[in-house]
């Protein structure tokens, strides 16, 4: 089937099988490999992207379900001059990553979360990111990074 999706603001048109998962579509059809597959069973959040501005697990969504809509991936966050998105910068500043495998999903989940809750408490952040696992267990710095990004946005 033919689908058209705006990915990071770029109109994409592809012919895909209906069973194509959104993550597979992004990585293979759009060649955007920033989005990772971790568990492939909806549990780890490594594949998180924004669909219509809201976080979703792209391993548990069909590309067909996103047809006509807009997707933001990790590649779509930084400005065109390379300036990092505030959440990316906060992860950098606070050492919010170790091996980096969960990072794209964590950042996307955090961006979506802060949009819904711009002034979170630490507990809100932990609950807001409960769908994302970090096998390096670097949660402390991830939470600090998200809180710092929220604080930065206030100023």
């Amino acid at each position: 089937m033919k689908i058209s999706i705006s990915v990071n603001g770029v109109a994409q048109e592809h012919d895909v099988e209906p069973r194509t998962l959104l993550v597979q579509y992004l990585r293979e059809s759009c060649a955007l490999t920033g989005t990772k597959v971790g568990c492939d069973t909806s549990s780890c959040g490594a594949c998180t992207v924004l669909f219509e501005g809201e976080s979703v697990k792209s391993c548990t969504m069909l590309a067909a379900q996103a047809d006509g809509g807009s997707i933001t991936t990790i590649e779509g966050l930084a400005a065109s001059d390379g300036t990092l998105h505030p959440v990316q910068q906060a992860f950098h500043d606070h050492h919010g990553l170790q091996c980096g495998y969960c990072t794209a999903g964590m950042v996307m989940a955090a961006v979506g979360f802060l949009d819904e809750n711009p002034a979170p408490t630490e507990r809100d952040v932990r609950e807001g990111l409960e769908g994302n696992l970090c096998r390096c267990t670097g949660y402390h710095n991830i939470v600090q990074a998200v809180l710092a990004a929220a604080e930065g946005a206030k100023q």
Binding site: P18, D40, S42, A64, Q65, A109, G112, E130, G131
Partner: protein
């Protein structure tokens, strides 16, 4: 893991969805948020040959004041329940339970209708529907019928819904902004309840329902009866597991689940007093 091949049909209205389901018969399935169906398809535990995507039927996504009850469209997402000011005011328990389903990503996609139709005894919202005596509205080519929540959940992942019926609306009573609590017990974030206890107050009467204490969500009728006859919360909670046949699994034995039911019911009742 990629699902087995299927044909994809997107319905713009309930009528279109019903026409597609009757055209394709037995092997066709409705797809709402996909938060239960897609994982099963990826594991090839479900292999529908046609998916009728109903998620975009906009006029089945609403939360409205219908006078003596609140009407919720079947395609309303958990996220919309969680953030609804109307629900918070008129039937807060539904918003509160929805906020505890899975994680943000799941709540952005999953729907009330999907959760109810899926009928997983470990799911949160079905127990709330049973506690509230919700009315479930189903539509087929032959017309519309209403089913009481107590008659809807018929078994483990089984409901009174026929394969050609689309769940369109769920009606909940105006139980108010307080007098409720949901105790969900799990060990890991985003997980299903090992046991859960819903307490709600409808028209001055306490209702109690349990998650994962049998093949379906169950009403703790013995607890409700004890409370009605004047027993204390501590005493009434002791009957929480009465008549239940909870599963044994990796997480908990029957005895442990029975214990959890008693403790969680007491906590839910204390918090909702």
């Amino acid at each position: 893991m990629i699902p087995a091949a299927f044909e994809y049909v997107r319905a713009a209205s309930a009528d279109e969805a019903l026409a597609a389901i009757s055209e394709h018969g037995e092997d066709a399935k409705f797809l709402a948020g996909g938060m239960s169906l897609l994982p099963l398809m990826k594991l090839r535990l479900a292999t529908p040959t046609v998916l009728v995507d109903v998620a975009r039927i906009r006029d089945l996504s609403y939360i409205t004041d219908a006078g003596d009850h609140i009407a919720i469209g079947a395609l309303t997402r958990h996220r919309d329940l969680e953030t609804s000011t109307l629900l918070a005011k008129e039937c807060g328990i539904v918003a509160s339970v929805a906020a505890q389903v899975g994680d943000n990503q799941v709540r952005h996609r999953g729907t009330l209708g999907g959760s109810v139709a899926h009928s997983d005894p470990a799911s949160d919202l079905p127990a709330a529907m049973v506690a509230l005596d919700a009315i479930i509205v189903a539509r087929s080519a032959a017309g519309e019928r209403t089913i009481a929540a107590a008659d809807f959940f018929t078994g483990f992942f089984e409901t009174a819904l026929n394969a050609d019926e689309l769940l369109t609306e769920i009606r909940v009573p105006k139980a108010g902004a307080s007098g409720f609590n949901y105790q969900k017990f799990n060990r890991r974030a985003q997980d299903w309840a090992i046991v859960g206890a819903v307490a709600a107050t409808v028209a001055g009467t306490k209702r109690v329902a349990l998650v994962n204490m049998g093949n379906t969500p169950v009403r703790a009728t013995a607890v409700e009866a004890a409370l009605a006859s004047g027993a204390s919360i501590a005493d009434a909670s002791m009957s929480a597991a009465m008549g239940c046949e909870p599963p044994t699994d990796l997480n908990a034995s029957v005895e442990y689940r029975e214990h959890l039911a008693r403790v969680l019911v007491r906590r839910a009742l204390d918090a909702s007093a």
